[in-house]
Amino acid sequence: MKTTAIARIGAHPLDEYLRTDRLPHIWCPGCGLGMILGTVLRAIDKSRLDIDRTTIVSGIGCTGRAAGYVKLDSFHVTHGRALPFATGLKLANPNLKVVVFSGDGDLAAIGGNHLIHAARRNIDMTVICVNNFIYGMTGGQLGPTTPEMGRTTTSRKGNTEKPFNIPYLVGAAGATYVARWTTAHVRQMERTFIEALQKKGFSLVEVISPCPTYYGRMNEQATGLDQMRYYRYNSVVKHFANLADVDISLDGQIIVGKFIDIDRPYLPAPKGENGK
């Protein structure tokens, strides 16, 4: 084995899409966020999207920090408002490819109403919803996706509230493309992101991701690696599963796959429609 000095910064294949001066990023060791962001960038690269017309919108949270690391036009907007901001962006400039990259708290708690309406109106955008079952940035409080009996800093004895099943929720609201993977399915995630980016209409991919610092540590998966192993050995691929059955429990199976892929009229309407 021959080794040479130091691998150069700027030489990583994704560096052209990253603000490398801001790396290493702030995410904790074992957090899944960097991997999901990398997978989005690979998908953008493989889809040969015009990067001058590709934008990333994030809300607030650890996940929301993604907007600050990409070398694309990116927007880090107020908490919960990633979707209305992205809707405005897309309606005002239909030529843009709009990608929303935000957390379960941002999209499904404070932004929950925007989520169902963006899906209902079928706004042409791709939403990556990173679900770590918790509010990471603010110290690990329970959120609307925390599984029943999941322990968080504000549910020390276990959560008693029923969590949202995000694919079921957005599917019922009218989303035309819905899928779920975990960070242990990085290749499938990449293929799904490529498909979702091509989809005309509202596409949402939920990615289950480790937050060892809060969720993992409080629920007997102390490291990111423990959480990755859990996903690897407890996920079941069921494409087009009955969405009522894909809810996530504290220590049960995680159903992953592509759940919805349909077509219906979307906004902004393509040129030539609606009399334009």
């Binding site: 910064i9 294949p13 790396l23």
Partner: protein, 78 residues
Amino acid sequence: MTTRAKQSQIHVIDERCKGCSFCVEFCPQHILYQTNETNAKGYQVVRVSEPDKCTGCGMCSRVCPEFAIYVETPDGKQ
């Protein structure tokens, strides 16, 4: 650190690695390992044990949350 092998070169950008071991766990050839060597921030960086077994599949690069490891093969970088 760059490790040269028969069919590929494996690069670890030490200052980015946070020692999460995802690459170690997911390398299909099981040729990556965590060392006791630390970077400036005190994270234990990874190295390659049997570089010639590397297939250049790019899994290490895909699972790395830190953009810290990648491979170069005659077909390009992954």
